[in-house]
């Protein structure tokens, strides 16, 4: 019988062992390489000729660039544009790996907590390091809103600290759980189709319903794949804004 979790299993393709450490080239690594190759090809190939009137692919590349640029500029201001390569890379990596995962039998890199957790740690690490480097101890103003009555201050500071601590957790878990839940739902509905299909003529008729649901869910998953990449980029921009301007 099928198992909806099976698709997330990591299987080594080229086993590499160094001492007690496992450096195997797995299906996860393979799809990360594919993600980077596809992302780089999407941007590099159409911009080789740099036509003044862009073709389809060049338009797509330019639109993606301008979309992320506008997002970052709106959220973090012109000062935040120094982080544009970082945010754009994150956006493209998440978007392309989400879209790779939409192919049947393909592996979804972003449905692994270790991948999204690393990305979130990178973002929060950048915010912390840059925030302290730029503002010094003034970075702590992030936790102390100005213009509050002194009685309320400890509570509000406590809540602000708590919300800052929960940021890396929610940033990583949101992306991971969205991709995980979507792919499990697809598999479960596809499982209904095979279950009903093996139950005779009435079953085959009944299987049309979950099949239609699978098609509709696939469309929804494409939306989620793009939306989650956008959400990750926009939250990164907002957190970087905090690092640039910690005062409320």
């Amino acid at each position: 019988m099928y198992n909806p979790i099976h698709q997330f299993q990591i299987a080594p393709i080229i086993p590499i062992h160094v001492g007690n450490l496992d450096f195997s080239f797995t299906n996860s690594s393979l799809f990360m390489v594919l993600t980077v190759v596809a992302g780089a090809a999407f941007l590099l190939l159409p911009t080789q000729r740099r036509a003044i009137i862009p073709g389809r692919w060049q338009s797509a590349a330019e639109l993606t660039y301008e979309f992320v640029e506008k997002t970052l500029r709106d959220a973090a201001g012109s000062e935040g544009m120094r982080f544009f390569p970082f945010v754009f890379t994150l956006f493209l990596f998440i978007l392309v790996s989400n879209l790779w995962g939409m192919f049947p039998y393909f592996y979804t890199v972003t449905a692994q907590i270790i991948v999204t957790g690393s990305l979130a740690a990178l973002v929060i690490g950048t915010v912390l390091v840059y925030g302290f480097w730029k503002n010094g101890l003034g970075f702590f103003r992030l936790f102390v809103p100005s213009g509050l009555p002194i009685v309320l201050l400890p509570f509000v500071t406590f809540i602000e600290v708590l919300s800052f601590i929960s940021r890396p957790i929610s940033l990583s878990i949101r992306l991971f759980a969205n991709m995980l839940a979507g792919h499990i739902t697809l598999k479960v509905f596809a499982g209904f189709v095979t279950l009903l299909g093996s139950a005779g003529a009435i079953g085959v008729l009944g299987a049309i319903l979950p099949l239609a649901a699978t098609v509709a869910l696939t469309a929804l998953e494409f939306l989620v794949a793009a939306l989650q990449a956008y959400v990750f980029a926009i939250l990164t921009s907002l957190y970087l804004h905090d690092a640039l301007h910690p005062g409320h």
Binding site: S170, I173, R174, A181, V231, L238
Partner: protein
Amino acid sequence: MEAEAAKFIGAGIACIGMGAAGIGVGIIFGNFLAGAIRNPAAAQGQFTNLIFGFAVTEALGIFSFLVALILLFT
């Protein structure tokens, strides 16, 4: 009660939180739409806030989904 049965009941209860997050996300998008119809010119500028509110609300539902998953598969 067997521990296995209690796990399944717990996972079901954890899913109530996802429904609550659904209400929250519905309120956010509904209110955005209501405001956007009244003043379409200002709607485009609030898109970032819309997505931010959606993401923060959705995270809470995702947490309860995660609790259900942990109960079911560990």
